[in-house]
């Protein structure tokens, strides 16, 4: 209708079809929404680095065991307390070698293999617990914000969970659920599910509060009323109109949530209620190495750096995604 006419003077032609109908610039071919998201995302350098690093780490912990196929649990007591290979640079005498590039611990377990195995668990715990917390937090936040009648009780429920002490909770969960989980998922799988659930179930409250606050404000916006007037059901209003608009606070919660989950897991290990002893996680490697930090700084630094870099890259990734998902920013 508007794009085909080619009158003599462009200005005159514009006046022919006054107003809002014309783009001034050449109209660009329609592009998919995800292309736009991707384009915006790509421009965020931090996000690309963060995403790249996360993929790298994920691949390393997933496929590392096939490349570095040393059993992380295998003891090699004669070769205990090796230093990382780089110590040879300044100390030719050091116990180090390519057999254990990152060194070995006090029982002669290979640290590289442990880092890889630990990364698997830590990343899995982090992602899953964060995901769980996010789902619960968002659900409770949205429901509390949207359904006024439930608001008070859901928020008081949030207070309740907020005040539950996590340690007895873990112990209780272990007592109640270990046996059935053990028989269904094996001892390690069972414990994993337990820890993930406990961390997830006790860290959604912040998300819920923030989401609720945003929903309360959004609910009063006219486009929600508009959606109701065209017959959109509550479920669809939540899904189509509310959720996409609270994506930004959810992203922030996700970033912080992953870090919190990894750290909570390690704190549980530190307090002795986490995973079985021979089940390495970054947090536990770090906690175990703290007493020997002076002699073997690499043992704290390696897992410490791994945790920090993961958290950092998730943070940048979150920033980038948030910008990319917001069409208002994307337009710029």
């Amino acid at each position: 209708m508007t794009e085909q006419a080619t009158p003599a003077s462009p200005l005159e032609a514009d006046i022919e079809t006054i107003g809002a109908l014309m783009d001034k610039g050449p109209s660009k071919p329609p592009r998919s929404q995800w292309r736009d998201v991707w384009d915006q995302f790509r421009k965020h350098k931090g996000a690309v680095f963060g995403g790249g690093f996360l993929i790298l780490i994920t691949f390393t912990v997933l496929f590392g065991p096939y490349i570095w196929d040393v059993d992380p649990k295998a003891l090699d007591i004669r070769n205990k307390n090796w230093r990382p290979i780089y110590t040879l640079l300044w100390d030719g005498e050091a116990a180090a070698g390519w057999a254990h590039p990152f060194g070995t611990d006090q029982l002669g377990r290979d640290i590289l293999a442990q880092m890889i195995a630990g990364g698997r668990v830590s990343m899995a715990v982090g992602w899953l617990a964060m995901g769980l917390a996010l789902v619960i937090g968002t659900a409770i936040g949205v429901i509390a914000g949207y359904f006024k009648r439930l608001d008070f009780w859901l928020m008081r429920f949030t207070d309740l969970v907020l005040s539950l002490p996590i340690l007895p909770l873990v112990l209780l969960a272990v007592t109640l659920f270990r046996q059935p989980l053990n028989s269904n998922f094996g001892p390690e799988g069972g414990m994993f599910i337990l820890i993930v659930s406990v961390i997830g179930l006790t860290s959604w409250m912040q998300t819920a509060r923030i989401v609720r606050g945003d929903i309360l404000a959004l609910k009063e916006r006219e486009f929600i009323l508009a959606a109701r007037s065209i017959g959109t059901t509550s479920g669809k209003i939540i899904r189509r109109h509310l959720l996409p608009n609270v994506i930004s606070p959810i992203m922030v919660s996700a970033t912080l949530g992953l870090a919190t989950a990894i750290i909570t897991e390690s704190a549980l290990s530190f307090l002795g209620v986490g995973f079985p002893s021979d089940y390495p996680t970054w947090g536990k490697l770090l906690a175990d190495a703290v007493p020997r930090m002076q002699d073997f700084p690499e043992r704290v630094l390696l897992p410490g750096i791994a945790i920090s870099l993961t958290v950092l890259s998730v943070n940048y990734l979150g920033d980038g995604l948030r910008d990319a998902l917001d069409p208002r920013i994307r337009g710029r």
């Binding site: 200005l11 006046i15 109908l21 959109t232 059901t233 710029r332």
Partner: protein, 610 residues
């Protein structure tokens, strides 16, 4: 006033070009604009939305940098009273800080958001005074009080201690004006100071600015797209189009002898009160550039579609310890009217008189307290939530603010398709076909289907809202201020579109507006509302040509006329403040009783509060 040729212009814009850096490369906000402003003169800048009016004014303040813009070219000469002429485009920000607020004052486009919500009015008003004039706190407050009195805000002492949200839109706008005037600037820039306001308040504000200009001799740069306002205010007019100045001249020249095609088109698009005198039925406007358009009056039918009887809607005001209702906002009180198939009923009235609430009550988007609503034989009040949802297939709403009523996170095609998906009236590929058809229908390019609301102009957004309302082929559309936010040319198009649809599809409209000229153009029936009640109801012709109720008469008088030779004087206007619609719980509202002055022309006889 006009021939101050002896004194030098206070500001000269020469070859201004402003660019914005965006992801798709630089965008030109203003291409090439030059004009002068002389002391004591009002220069009106008119032009379609997005033509660069705001950008020009922000450039003059050198505020454009904070919005990501850049003055790529041109000179902005400003004549400082003591220091002679300087080029603002070259001066540094510290000098600009001295000029801003002190020598150039600015009134911004959005009165609602221009004030900081967490500081009191007094605090915000005294800030500039203390900075530029070095006044003490007490002195500054005294001066602020004087300013508030000057802009005729009732109870000025109290206002100083209030927060912006405690003031009505009109009051807020006046505060912004007072603030801009605080340091008696030599140049005042007013960017659409009245667009968002209803006629009565608009009239007040325009009169006020005119008076201030006369009293203080300030030069005014007045930005608007409302030609009627231009006619009332301007000494000289600059017409902008697509970042360019296309015409400049005195207000009489522009109105009586427009040269440029755009100016002509613009003037043609302005609905003028009284144009429809003698015509019983509404008819589309004749727009420039649509030569072969056939103007046919829209008759509609005599079959009743919607009957509303004794509709009452109240909002509870809760308070006290147990959150009990202690009072009610009587937003809609005993409202009765009916709409015929294929016809339009307009509701007009002051801001806050309950128009939107009435519209929403009919859809039961707010629950009415009592009354009957009958849509084509269906008793809307009796429906449960599920059936109500189904009933909404037949009635749709276009909301007051098109931007607010669109989800900022959703593509337009999806938003238009949403009602179809909701009711599964169509499936699969047919949905997208229908959406494409709707976009064509409202004359939006199909490439817009993938865009997001913020990427559209106001007029385009309004079309999306209309397309969405049409998606289900409803019988009734409630159009709540569907065109108030649009600039005239677009407004005319949208109005024509609506009338065209009505003629073709036999749609009925409940048209809510406060713009009397627009109402006159589109309606078969008119209801004038005041404080929740209809004070006058009848055919458009009768109500407009023979207004009976004193409120209707006052309203007619406030409408600005798009003719520079018919300027209104401030003394002609006398508005009473609207009484509060809040009554305690036990309050018994008396029923409305009407007198039939002519057949079908009813006037409220009981107390309306006016």
């Amino acid at each position: 006033m006009l021939d101050n040729s002896g004194t030098a212009p206070i500001a000269q814009i020469k070859g201004l070009r402003v660019e914005f850096q965006t992801k798709d490369g630089p965008v030109v906000g203003v291409e090439d604009v030059s004009f002068d402003i002389n002391p004591g003169e009002t220069v009106c800048i008119v032009g379609e939305s997005g033509s660069g009016k705001s950008v020009s004014s922000l450039s003059l303040m050198r505020l454009i940098e904070y919005g990501g813009g850049e003055i790529a070219n041109g000179r902005l000469l400003f004549n400082r009273s003591d220091a002679g002429e300087i080029d603002l485009a070259q001066s540094d920000q510290s000098l600009m800080r001295h000029i801003r607020g002190n020598e150039i004052g600015m009134i911004f486009q959005e009165p609602m958001t221009a004030l900081n919500p967490v500081f009191t009015v007094g605090r915000q008003m005294t800030e500039g005074l203390r900075l530029h004039r070095g006044l003490s706190k007490a002195q500054a407050e005294e001066r602020a009080l004087a300013l508030l009195k000057q802009v005729r805000i009732p109870e000025p002492e109290r206002r100083l201690k209030q927060f912006p949200h405690e003031l009505s839109g009109g009051m807020r706008q006046r505060v912004v004006i007072a603030m801009a005037l605080a340091c008696e600037p030599r140049l005042l820039i007013a960017d659409e100071p009245t667009t968002a306001l209803d006629v009565t308040i608009q009239a007040e504000i325009l009169a006020l600015m005119d008076r201030l200009k006369r009293e203080t001799g300030t030069a005014v740069m007045f930005i608007t797209h409302d030609m009627a306002v231009v006619a009332q205010m301007a000494d000289r007019v600059v017409v902008m189009f697509r970042g360019l100045k296309v015409e400049e001249g005195t207000v009489e020249e522009i109105f009586e002898n427009p040269k440029h095609a755009y100016t002509k088109a613009l003037l043609a698009a302005v609905p003028k009160l009284g144009e429809m005198k003698g015509k019983p039925y509404p008819e589309p406007m004749r727009l420039l550039g649509t030569k072969d358009q056939e103007i046919k009056p829209i008759k509609g039918t005599t079959e009743t579609l919607l009957t509303v009887r004794n509709l009452t809607t109240r909002f509870p005001v809760t308070g006290g310890f147990l959150r009990r209702t202690i009072a009610n906002v009587h937003a809609v009180e005993d409202l009765s009217f009916s709409i015929n198939k294929g016809q339009t009923l307009s509701l007009v009235g002051e801001s806050g008189c309950g128009k939107s609430t009435a519209g929403r009550s009919i859809l039961r988007l707010v629950e009415p307290k009592s009354g009957e609503i009958d849509l084509d034989g269906k008793d809307i009040m009796a429906l449960n939530q599920r059936d109500l949802r189904t009933a909404r297939l037949d009635m749709q709403m276009i909301f007051q603010d098109p931007f607010a009523s669109l989800n900022p996170q959703m593509q337009l095609a999806d938003q238009v398709a949403e009602p179809i998906h909701n009711f599964r009236t169509l499936k699969g590929a047919e949905v997208s076909k229908r959406v494409e058809m709707l976009f064509d229908r409202v004359e939006l390019p199909r490439s817009f289907m993938r865009r997001f609301p913020h990427e559209l102009s106001g007029g385009q957004r309004q079309r999306v809202a209309i397309a969405r309302a049409l998606a289900l082929n409803p019988k009734l559309i409630i159009a709540d201020e569907a065109v108030s936010a649009l600039d005239v040319s677009v407004q005319a198009q949208v109005l024509n579109l609506m009338m065209e649809l009505q003629a073709e599809m036999g749609l009925s409209f409940l048209f809510i507006s406060h713009d009397m000229a627009v109402v006159e153009r589109v309606s078969h029936q008119v209801g004038v509302m005041y404080l929740g009640r209809i004070v006058e109801l009848g055919s458009r012709q009768r109500v407009f040509e023979n207004p009976q109720h004193p409120y209707t008469q006052a309203l007619m008088k406030a409408v600005p006329v798009a003719d520079p030779r018919q300027r209104k004087k401030e003394s002609e206007l006398n508005f009473k403040p609207i009484p509060s619609p809040i009554h305690p719980v036990g309050y018994q509202a008396e029923p409305s009783a009407y007198r039939e002055v002519e057949p079908g022309h009813l006037v409220l006889t009981t107390d309306s509060g006016y």
